[in-house]
């Protein structure tokens, strides 16, 4: 069998999603963003919503999400993505509207916008990348930084007396009447990626069926910020992040399988 034979379309079992373009990504090796971008691209295409999707990117590493996804996008001010998405969805109710936000964006500077958009039951999906650190600005303490974890602004480790406690926004979101589906996923293995994709699909379906707000947290790695190899970062995440941020559905009132 030649290389050309192997590459024939009928032999293809996997390919880059159509909505993920060829722009070289700026993400660091081992970063979770690229995988989550891919899942979003796949889900939008599989739902046939490419021409009706509007994404809202945050301030943070994913600020350039619009450079990689071939859909219409708006770039929000830091923390304000849910406010933008609220307006777009209300003004264009048949569009698929989602935000993509990091922990600093969503759980710190944008706490009010996030909680109130979710509590109003806006028919949007919030994708929440939680890597417990500010990646783009160079590894400062985030609202979700674990106790004892070292960052450039808590170089001796996060201690509650000085820095307060890590914030579980997804748990808060699950208590809000406006949310219909709140889940915590990860993308460090093939099995996890499959589950995360299913969660994103479900959240997007909920928003199109006007069931309310969905929050999909992806517990993620930041190998650069954590100063670890990608492999070690995955292991560290499993051993340290998952016990504090346990995976699984926190709320599901949707009756969508």
């Amino acid at each position: 069998m030649t290389k050309e034979d192997i590459m024939k379309p009928e032999n293809l079992v996997y390919q880059k999603p159509r909505l993920l373009n060829d722009n070289p990504m700026h993400y660091c090796p081992g970063c979770s963003h690229g995988v989550v971008h891919k899942l979003i691209a796949e889900v939008i295409d599989e739902m046939g919503m490419a021409e009706k999707a509007v994404g809202v990117s945050p301030v943070g590493c994913a600020v350039f999400m619009y450079n990689y996804l071939d859909i219409d996008c708006q770039e929000a001010a830091h923390g304000r993505a849910p406010a933008l998405a609220t307006a777009v969805k209300r003004l264009w109710p048949d569009r698929l509207v989602f935000t993509y936000q990091g922990d600093g964006d969503l759980a710190c500077i944008g706490t009010a916008e996030t909680i109130h958009a979710l509590n109003r039951g806006e028919n949007i999906t919030i994708i929440f990348i939680n890597n417990a650190i500010y990646g783009m600005t160079g590894g400062q303490m985030a609202p979700t930084t674990l106790l004892g974890m070292k960052t450039s602004t808590c170089p001796y480790g996060r201690i509650p007396e000085v820095h307060g406690y890590p914030l579980k926004m997804t748990e808060i979101a699950a208590t809000l009447q406006g949310t219909c589906y709140v889940t915590r996923q990860s993308v460090q293995s093939v099995a996890a990626i499959r589950k995360a994709k299913k969660a994103i699909r479900k959240a997007f379906e909920c928003s199109m069926q006007k069931k309310g707000s969905s929050l999909v947290e992806i517990v993620s790695t930041c190998s650069s910020g954590w100063k670890m190899t990608p492999e070690k970062a995955n292991k560290w995440m499993e051993e340290n992040m998952f016990p504090f941020y346990p995976l699984g559905d926190l709320k599901d009132t949707t009756e969508i399988k």
Binding site: A50, E51, K52, A53, V54, V56, V63, Y66, L69, D70, I71, D72, C73, Q74, E75, A76, A77, R80, A83, L84, A85, T86, A87, V88, R90, L91, W92, R95, L96, A112, E113, H116
Partner: protein, 361 residues
Amino acid sequence: MTEEVVLMKGNEAIAHAAVRIGVDGYFGYPITPQSEVLETLAELKPWETTGMVVLQAESEVAAINMVYGGAGSGKMVMTSSSSPGVSLKQEGISYIAGAELPCLVVNVMRGGPGLGTIQPSQADYFQATKGGGHGDYRLIVLAPASVQEMADFVDLAFKLAFKYRNPAMILTDGVIGQMMEKVVLPAPRPRRTEEEVTAQCPWAATGCKGRKPNIITSLELDPSVMEQRNLHLQAKYAEIEEKEARYEEINCEDAEYLIVAFGSCARIAQKSMEHAREMGIKVGLLRPVTLWPFPTKAVKERAKQVKGILVVELNSGQMIEDVQLAVECKVPVEHFGRLGGIVPDPDEVIEAIRKQLINKQ
């Protein structure tokens, strides 16, 4: 069809006009003295008639960012607030200006600084006309002097905002917002259809049907590209300055002294002018209708004939700087202002003309 004349507050006129001209969305937050805008819209329930979205946001910050999102999707969207709330909106306004999006922000000014007072003021002139938020940008700023203009300027603001893809502001105050006057509301017209929106705004992020994806952003990390973006903005601002300056002149032909005042102060100054003329002092009134672009040429031209200019404002001297720049020291330019929510009596203005201009010469 005969014109329907109604009696209402300036704030109410803004709300009625917005529904009638087919605004798509209003996002606001309560603050005195502008809460009637949101209250009137809530009472009118336009979502049941025109389909207009009306939403009470969790903060002024959220409201302006909803406006950012709505404007980025090509819709006619607006917010309103009063001074402390407009300070909170500055972040969003800067982004909207940077992303070159059309929208309307209404500021029904109250006295400051800080929480200040709920009484009227014009102390946000600098904030509205010189920036307010970060970066080199301009707002198109309209200053209504009557309830009629409150109604009319909603449409005018959106026309200019869409023409130049630039945020526009109605800068008014508690006097105009709260006082009741006769007003003829604009003729009702339907909201634009989805097809009309996408045709008018081919740049909008609405879902990329039949075209390449649209990106709404103010971000550019390459400084050489960012400089070009800034130069493009400056060229646009120069065009607006050239074409869109608006003003009104009353009794200026034979005037020996000129009052320059905007909004509520222009209404008071008009009475001062009438009283002064009864006393034999030839006073004229020049009222800037656009505060940015400032009617520099008109002020410069009128300065050639008068002996002195009094700038009357509800602040300690803000618009006077633009008047001085226009006049280039050719004639004396003096300021009269009341602060902290005090509105002057027309005779105080005449007294200021006597004391600061006539008796000084």
